[in-house]
């Protein structure tokens, strides 16, 4: 095969790969433009007072999105608060404390955890967890933000565990050896040397967990009660909420194309897109910066 042929082949392959890479960016941009096109009419069809009001009831022209935004935030925050300590502890256990044979069992099991469909978890939550929450916490109903946060924590856990585990693994052995040589106990080494060194990886794990939680639809739709109320009490975590994702899922199917309700749902979609995009962008920044600091390691 002569050199011209080879150069031509190389050029074609490189171009194809480059196109594939750019197409990913193109898809994201196209999705965002479509959301913008369908959601933009919201801003001149509805007054800001209505759009940021406290009552969401589209049938009567009430498009207050505050209950939905706060509902999503509450459930996501709850999920992270539950999943972070649990995930971190599991990651530490797997990397630092578990014997090899146990590690080999736990790691695939956690991957299995990630494979359970969210609608199955939602159904389990509705039928088994919600009654338990109602009885144990003595609240009027078990369909609460807390139940949603529990199911979301369960779903974010595999992501948080994997990433945190990689971060802990990436801490150089010399750090641990140095600490032990200075007379630190195993736990002191973990808590005061390894974890701080793995800090950026843990931050990445949290952000990926948040990204997963805020976009979850089916599970929260089945267990949070979908009551569009603004969570203003101190115990709002144990009362029903309605998330942005559940609202879009429940209402988009029946909305008339081109109606105001249709545009508002797309506007909520834009908000979700932007929030998820910002979280992912921030995560990428943390990854890149931590990579530079460590001279090229991707995590930790």
């Amino acid at each position: 095969m002569n050199r011209l042929n080879v150069r031509w082949r190389e050029f074609v392959i490189e171009t194809l790969i480059r196109l594939s890479g750019f197409s990913a960016i193109l898809f994201v941009v196209l999705v965002f433009l479509f959301l913008l096109k369908e959601g933009a009419p919201t801003f001149w069809q509805i007054s800001p007072g209505n759009l940021f009001g406290q009552r969401w009831y589209p049938n009567e022209g009430l498009f207050g999105t505050w209950p939905l935004i706060l509902g999503s935030l509450l459930v996501t925050a709850g999920a992270v608060v539950i999943a972070l300590p649990l995930g971190l502890a599991t990651a530490v256990f797997i990397r630092e404390l578990a014997p090899d044979w146990l590690r080999e069992i736990l790691k695939p099991l956690i991957e299995v955890l990630a494979g359970i469909p969210s609608v199955v978890l939602g159904f389990l939550g509705m039928v088994a967890v919600a009654p338990l929450v109602r009885q144990v916490l003595n609240v009027p109903t078990g369909l609460t933000a807390f139940t949603g946060a529990l199911m979301l924590a369960y779903m974010s856990l595999p992501t948080i565990i994997s990433v945190a585990e990689d971060a802990i693994d990436a801490v150089p052995k010399s750090y641990r050896d140095g600490a032990l040589a200075l007379g630190a106990t195993h736990w002191q080494t973990i808590w005061r040397v390894v974890l701080p060194a793995a800090r950026s990886g843990v931050i990445i794990a949290v952000m990926l967990g948040i990204g997963r939680a805020i976009g979850e639809t089916m599970a929260v739709m089945m267990v949070t009660g979908n009551a569009a109320r603004v969570p203003h009490e101190w115990n709002a975590l144990f009362l029903p909420v309605r998330t942005m994702t559940a609202t879009i899922a429940a209402e988009m199917g029946e909305v008339a194309q081109g109606s105001t309700h249709y545009h508002v749902l797309f506007a909520v979609g834009i908000l979700l897109f932007v929030v998820t995009f910002l979280i992912n962008a921030a995560t990428s920044v943390v990854i890149i910066r931590s990579g530079e600091r460590r001279g090229g390691r991707l995590m930790g």
Partner: protein
């Protein structure tokens, strides 16, 4: 009505395999919108067509013709251990709009009231809002309480009602399962309390009842006419009764 439409289509398809019937769900609003756009021949609706929808249809050159095909009752359901046996419409209006928040205010135990409802795009939800929460008054602007739990399906309502003693919900009679308690309803204080059954809906004594419709574009012809005749005939109505709705005769 999608369960009913599917059952009808399936049974009719067995008798007349040459007729192709495609059924899609999506709610009364979706069906009527499709009729207006000319993409369907028949639109099932659990509420009457609105004036603005009719105007839109006529602007498109389509005249919607209404056919009553079945009856339906909205049952009020509570947990089996709930001591309350009946409620009046004004009491139900106060409960579902959030004015009554404890069961002891209507003669029950000292428990908070947990409200369960269908999603706001459901014909059942709209019907309940107009006939019960607003007590049939056209200019009433009362809304459901913001604390109402909007469940995505009837199973969601059933799952909560059957295990939560604080719960009260509503749904079409055909969706009530035996492990829920159905309340008797009186149209006002002093009126008799009536349980929803096929008989009480037919003789009009149960206050929360409605008709189910099929809308066609113009007077039905040919295969559509035959299908509609079959639906209101004995075989179609037997299916209505089987699914828990109220047959015409």
């Amino acid at each position: 009505m999608v369960n009913l439409a599917l059952a009808w289509a399936e049974a009719y398809g067995r008798l007349h395999p040459e007729v192709q019937i495609a059924v899609t769900g999506g709610g009364s609003g979706t069906g009527i919108a499709a009729l207006i756009n000319g993409t369907v021949d028949m639109a099932n609706a659990s509420r009457p067509i609105k004036a603005e929808e009719r105007a839109q249809a006529e602007a498109n050159g389509i005249v919607p013709v209404e056919h009553v095909v079945a009856g339906d009752a909205i049952a009020i359901v509570v947990h089996p251990s709930n001591p309350v046996h009946g409620l009046t419409i004004p009491q139900l209006a106060a409960i579902f709009s959030g004015k009554i928040t404890n069961w002891r205010q209507v003669g029950g135990e000292d428990r908070p009231v947990v409200l369960l409802s269908r999603e706001s795009n459901s014909g059942t939800h709209v019907f309940f809002l107009e006939e019960v929460v607003r007590q049939g008054r056209k200019d009433d602007k009362t809304l459901f309480s913001p604390d109402t739990l909007l469940m995505p399906s009837s199973e969601g309502i059933s799952a909560e009602v059957r295990q939560n003693p604080n719960a009260i919900g509503y749904d079409g009679l055909g969706y009530v399962t035996p492990d829920q308690k159905v309340l008797a309803v009186a149209s006002a204080e002093g009126q008799p309390y009536v349980l929803p059954t096929v008989e009480t809906v037919k003789d009009g004594s149960y206050p929360i009842a409605r008709e189910l419709y099929i809308y066609t574009a113009g007077e039905p012809q040919g295969a559509i006419r035959e299908y509609l005749d079959w639906i209101v005939g004995p075989e179609g109505q037997a299916i209505v009764r089987e699914l828990g709705f109220v047959p015409l005769r």
